[in-house]
């Protein structure tokens, strides 16, 4: 296959076109803005995508529509921005001109104190407002899960977010007014070429298509595939690891496809959590709370399902749920594809069933049998934007006569990989769905797992809570008494 190659990346930065022929594969957007472009409104708070001080908007064409999403500039590589529109706080209000409604609302409600996190909040709220001009408090909180403020206690920021709905007019917003123009500009930047910047090991590539990716990766299996960079970004900013050469997936619309047939749903590996949200929660409402609590909004906008799987972490958010649902993963190397059950993809800590040059192309999730019940529980120290201490996922099928016909249980945080609870499943399979059975299965979990103690939780807590989650699942099938906290915010 021959493809045309371009040796520059091109993107819009605020009102200007940026074209770069020399940029490091590990150049972060934040450093580029602050050091190269002297745009210092965007701040570095943590350099790991957890505090949101560096939040900017990235606009890209998704299914022909220009969509702006909040992202963490600190862990976003510049190379991945080809064909995008980057919007920073610096351009929201002209010097000396009126403030943008989001900014005005923040000032009016005394929503800034030290001000360091403020530009990030402004950008997160701006991103929310563009998509949802009249958000509920719960929606505002969700949009702000990735923004830390240490001064205000957030109350004033929430008041600001509510005030934007009143004082702002979306039809007068510059980005909305320029939507068509920008869309055309971005469309014009798409030339279908493979992008290669740099040489030797100091190089990054944006494949022109999935076939191109397959060819590139097969030829160079040591290259690092980067999708959302929500984890790999930290390898660079925290561990100063050399990840070159890098293959970015950000061009590949094909990997962002979601298809639904009668029995299952298939998500391309490049589908972000945000993109997947409507269909995942429609077909698997049991995953809604989990999905709402993956990272913060910026991480959900960047991070991909494929990355979450390929990464192989024992505490990744989606694998326990996907294993419980019986998901399988499509792996591709060159022109060859194979499909493996997700649970067998995870071999041991740090080791997955992925051959050199092979990449995760898609994940297929079968729909639930009508006799099945499913639940996923994520347990964390802090409710939102936290990594699981334990994540328990349950899918039990009942035979119609009060017995369990098929139990599938998977936990994250309990072993070196996301792992099935074979002993507990055995205790349930064929047994009456009763308190006693559940007790027995809870005990059996002790044989399934020997969790570790670390800063997220002690081994004792992990095992105890893992057992209790099975009880929670049982109680939820039983009665009307609330067995979980009601997370919806009172008005």
């Amino acid at each position: 296959m021959t493809v045309d190659i371009r040796n520059t990346i091109r993107f819009l930065l605020n009102h200007r076109l940026v074209e770069l022929s020399s940029v490091s594969p590990v150049q972060t957007l934040l450093d580029f803005l602050r050091l190269d472009r002297n745009l210092r409104g965007t701040k570095e708070g943590c350099a790991e995508g957890d505090c949101g001080a560096c939040t900017v908007l990235v606009g890209r064409l998704l299914d022909g529509r220009l969509k702006y999403e909040s992202v963490n500039a600190c862990i976003r590589f510049v190379g991945s921005l080809d064909g995008c529109h980057v919007v920073t706080v610096d351009c929201l209000a002209a010097p000396g001109g009126p403030l943008h409604p989001v900014q005005q609302a923040m000032v009016d409600t005394h929503a800034s104190q030290c001000g360091f996190c403020t530009p990030g909040f402004v950008m997160s709220l701006y991103g929310l407002w563009m998509e949802n001009p009249k958000p509920s408090v719960t929606e505002i909180e969700k949009a702000l899960q990735g923004n830390l403020c240490r001064c205000t206690g957030y109350a004033a920021i929430i008041r600001a977010a509510e005030a934007v709905s009143v004082i702002g007019d979306l039809n007068k917003d510059p980005l909305v007014l320029e939507r068509e123009k920008i869309s055309k500009q971005l469309e014009g930047l798409k030339d279908g070429k493979r992008v290669v910047v740099g040489d030797g090991a100091e190089r990054f590539v944006l494949p022109a298509s999935v076939n191109d990716l397959a060819e590139i990766y097969e030829a160079e299996p040591k290259a690092r595939i980067v999708a959302g960079s929500t984890d790999v970004g930290l390898w660079v900013t925290k561990f100063m690891r050399d990840i070159s050469p890098v293959v970015h997936l950000s061009h590949l619309d094909e990997l962002r496809s979601i298809s639904v047939d009668e029995t299952s749903m298939t998500l391309g590996a490049g589908v972000s959590y945000t993109q997947a949200y409507p269909l995942v929660t429609k077909h698997f409402p049991q995953l809604t709370e989990l999905w709402d609590r993956i990272g913060g909004q910026q991480v959900r906008n960047m991070g991909t399902i494929g990355g979450n799987i390929a990464n192989g972490s024992p505490i990744g958010d989606t694998p326990p749920a996907l294993i419980a649902l019986g998901a399988s993963v499509v792996l591709r190397k060159g022109k060859r594809r194979r499909t493996v059950p997700l649970e067998s993809f995870f071999i041991e800590y740090g080791k997955q069933d992925r051959h050199p040059g092979e990449f995760v192309e898609a994940v297929r999730i079968p729909f639930l049998n009508e006799n099945a019940r499913c639940a996923v529980y994520k347990i964390t120290k802090r409710l939102d934007e936290d990594i699981s201490a334990v994540c328990g996922a349950f899918r039990l099928t009942f035979d119609g006569n009060g017995k369990v016909s098929d139990a599938v249980i998977a936990y994250g945080g309990m072993a070196g990989t996301p792992k099935r609870a074979e002993n507990a499943e055995a205790a349930l399979n064929g047994a009456e769905w009763t308190d006693d059975t559940v007790e027995t299965a809870m005990e059996a979990l002790g044989a399934d797992y020997t969790p570790l103690s670390d800063w997220r939780a002690s081994a004792d807590y992990r095992l105890l809570v893992a057992k209790n989650l099975l009880r929670r699942f049982y109680l939820e099938t039983q009665g009307d008494q609330p067995v979980r906290l009601d997370r919806k915010r009172a008005v």
Binding site: Q113, T118, L148, Q481
Partner: protein, 778 residues
């Protein structure tokens, strides 16, 4: 000359809900923090090399790979220090800039790399090869005591009455212990210093410091130059909370050293993880207590020891542990009392100031005792609280022999109890817990009394510099630093009020040691009390000159000269302020003044544990209701009501912001913020991915915050306001207690749950297990 009609009042005077002076710059990203300043050409960057051992001898250091790394200009070690290798704020000479021979905590700075870019300096620093010989280390406070680790500073004892007699008389005695975790400041802007060398021995450092004068002295000490050669500037900090009271000194010193050595501007900014590893935090405490009380719950005697994890050096651990003792009584009279501090050395980063400065830990200990009394007697803790409040015949003396003269806690509690409908809601919670087996609820109403003044009496002074320019614009500078709390706004409001001009006429400029010398840390909630008074004093000096001038020039009595909104009235004539100033300038009136203030009445004799360390007290109370999931230990705060006393508020909008912010920050301290050291003595919760401060979704689902609008400081403070920075930090003790009540429900409220802080879901679940076992067995 026009005769003008006065308008009723100026814009932005005191007691107005004025916006933060930098608000419009915060939201546009144009508020300049140190890392945003334009760097002069050739600016170099420094990065620290940190110890990878908790306690070890350094056998050798191999810098070869560091020196040859790209961009590296040089390396700084202790050998490069021309002055003293010490930045101890306690002047104990126990806080080296760079460790030599031995390291005493994991993360201790050993050297710095200077390179052309920050990235290069950081990458190069990681290439060092250090050979260590490990020594035994201790990170935990009780282990430190068991290992006979020394105290970092002399302990304090507060004693009053006769505890032996008190306990002998008490019908009931409870003994207990509690662990209270520390807290990382998690200011959003990490530490940073930017040094620019001057002529001769001069150096200017832009430092993210709450204490420019101390930073000035420390830089001088390290460089071996007098204070007059060092200028420290700070326009604003991106949050500080005590974390930049002493901890900025190290970074300022390193930047200054490098700037002088390499004769160019040098900036240093650690990565977040290194900032959290290498700089001090709130002290973790262990409290061992014994409390005697009668059958009603009236306390007879208290004996308690507060042991603190101080880290490897003294830093501010002395005054921090002192303040813990000063607040162990909270609002309660202890007839017989002995409180002792034990500031223990540990192989951890040296703990430091953090909002409340030990007071919160003391207060949590005191409230735990109240809770124990309540559970022992099967009563509502609020009933025990009210029974023991200061007040009544012979019941107003604190353990440090200061009389509580301004007690308003009774009224605060009464109003809050009514407005939040405490009694009915508590009944409802009890009924809910009867019918709900998995989800349990808890409610608690807790008070706060917090002493205002630095306990180091000499710190209770401040200076300000006010210039009125001949166009009538006003330039204000004072010794306080702006870290988001709105100090610049409040002090400007005071000056506006003094001159009776609109706030926009006043420009507050960056705090600098060159304009106002010998300042105190902006800490201890004292910022507006001290600097507001000093600025008022400066304005009054200028006004006095202007009055004399006007009286002479227009031939009226001085009493006939008045500053009215944006005008000066002379007799019956009203002259626009700027016009009046032009005339004064023309008559050669000095339009600039340095103001000064020192807090009256206070004194403190530490060795005797006696005196009046506090000018006054600030009060407050909160009621919180929580739900707890007894299967997982997860919880959420359903509702919080706050009534807080800021005296007559200088700016109610800013004060509400302080109260809301302090509440959520304090709630984080008591719930999800956990510092976790591994067996090697490494702090493993050193970034927001592992250290969990509250998010928007963690704030109480219903959050009603009110100021006690009727309150007026009985002492002559600036416009009768009260300090607000720290006192509300202790309001969320109600959250901890509400969680505790929910937990207690599984054992019929008969056993004190004694959840340690922070009450993470794990601690809550393990407590529930313990209570359920005890209930079964008992």
């Amino acid at each position: 000359m026009n005769v003008m009609q006065p308008i009723d009042r100026i814009r932005g005077g005191v007691h107005e809900k004025e916006r933060h002076e930098s608000g419009h710059k915060h939201v546009t990203g144009t508020a300049e923090y140190i890392d945003d300043m334009p760097e002069p050409a050739g600016t170099l960057h420094a990065y620290l090399g940190l110890s990878e051992r908790a306690h070890a001898e350094i056998l050798s250091i191999d810098f070869d790979a560091v020196k040859t790394a790209p961009g590296v200009i040089g390396i700084l070690t202790a050998a490069d220090i021309p002055g003293e290798n010490d930045v101890s704020p306690a002047h104990k000479h126990d806080d080296p800039v760079f460790a030599t021979g031995m390291v005493e905590f994991h993360g201790q700075p050993i050297f710095a790399v200077i390179a052309e870019t920050r990235d290069e300096a950081r990458r190069a620093a990681a290439k060092v090869k250090i050979e260590y010989r490990d020594l035994p280390h201790v990170t935990d406070v009780l282990e430190a005591a068991a290992a006979n680790y020394p105290l970092v500073i002399d302990p304090l004892k507060l004693e009053r009455g006769d505890i032996a007699a008190g306990f002998a008389r008490a019908k009931n005695i409870v003994e207990g212990e509690m662990r209270i975790g520390g807290q990382d400041h998690f200011y959003l802007e990490g530490h940073i210093s930017f040094a620019i060398p001057g002529e001769d021995d001069e150096i200017t450092v832009h430092s993210s410091t709450q204490h420019p004068s101390e930073t000035q002295h420390m830089v001088g000490q390290v460089l071996g130059v007098p204070a007059n050669a060092v200028t420290i500037n700070v326009r604003r900090m991106g949050g500080a909370f005590g974390g930049k009271e002493t901890q900025a000194n190290l970074f300022a010193a390193v930047a200054a050293l490098a700037a002088k050595k390499y004769r160019c501007a040098v900036k240093i900014r650690p990565d977040r993880d290194d900032d959290m590893t290498a700089t001090g935090k709130r002290h973790d405490f262990h409290v061992g207590y014994k409390v005697g009380f009668d059958d009603d719950g009236r306390i007879e005697a208290v004996d308690a020891v507060f042991s603190a994890r101080c880290g490897f050096s003294a830093d501010l651990s002395g005054p921090v542990t002192d303040r813990a003792l000063f607040h162990a009584d909270n609002c309660y009279f202890y007839p017989h009392v002995r409180l002792r501090s034990r500031p223990l050395k540990t192989n951890t980063v040296s703990n430091t100031a953090f909002r409340g400065f030990g007071g919160p830990q003391g207060m949590v200990g005191g409230e735990r005792m109240i809770e124990d009394v309540a559970y022992a007697l099967g009563k509502d803790p609020l009933e025990i609280r009210k029974l023991n409040f200061y007040g009544g015949e012979g019941r107003d003396l604190t353990p440090y022999h200061q009389a509580v003269e301004d007690n308003i806690i009774g009224r605060i509690i009464e109003e809050l109890e009514t407005s939040c409908d405490y009694a009915a809601r508590r009944d409802e919670v009890l009924a809910f817990n009867q019918r709900s087996s998995v989800i349990k609820r808890g409610i608690a109403l807790t008070p706060v009394k917090f002493g205002i003044s630095f306990t180091k009496t000499e710190y209770n002074q401040a200076g300000a510099l006010v210039h009125v320019y001949s166009d009538g614009s006003i330039h204000l500078n004072h010794g306080g630093t702006e870290m988001g709390q709105g100090l610049y706004t409040k002090v400007a409001q005071v000056v506006a009020d003094e001159f009776q001009v609109d706030l926009h006429r006043i420009k507050v400029t960056a705090t600098t040691t060159g304009k106002v010398p010998n300042t105190s840390a902006t800490a201890a909630s004292s910022g507006s009390d001290l600097n507001g008074m000093a600025a008022a004093n400066a304005a009054q000096q200028i006004k006095a000159r202007l009055v004399t001038f006007a009286a002479e020039r227009w031939g009226v009595s001085e009493n006939d000269v008045a500053f009215e909104p944006n005008t000066v009235r002379v007799g019956i004539e009203r002259i626009a302020f700027s016009e009046f100033i032009k005339l004064a300038y023309g008559s050669r009136i000095q339009l600039s003044a340095a103001g000064f203030y020192k807090t009256p009445k206070i004194h403190w004799n530490r060795s005797e544990g006696r005196g009046r360390p506090f000018f006054y007290y600030a009060y407050g109370a909160s009621c919180s209701e929580v739900s707890v999931d007894t299967l997982t230990g997860e919880y959420q705060v359903e509702r919080t009501d706050v009534l807080h006393d800021v005296g007559k508020s200088l700016n109610p909008a800013l004060d509400i912001g302080q109260v809301e912010g302090a509440f959520v920050q304090g709630m984080g301290w008591l719930t999800t913020e956990e510092l976790w050291w591994d067996a090697k003595g490494r702090l493993r919760t050193h970034a927001p991915s592992t250290y969990k401060i509250p998010l928007a979704s963690d704030r109480p689902r219903i959050f009603n915050v009110k100021l006690a609008e009727w309150s007026v400081n009985r002492e002559e403070t600036i416009r009768r306001s009260k300090a607000v920075g720290e006192p509300p930090f202790m309001l969320p003790i109600s959250v901890l207690e509400a969680i505790s009540m929910a937990a207690a429900s599984v054992a019929g409220y008969r056993i004190a749950p004694r959840i340690d802080a922070p009450a993470t879901p794990e601690r809550v679940l393990l407590c529930l297990e313990r209570l359920q076992r005890a209930a079964k067995n008992g």
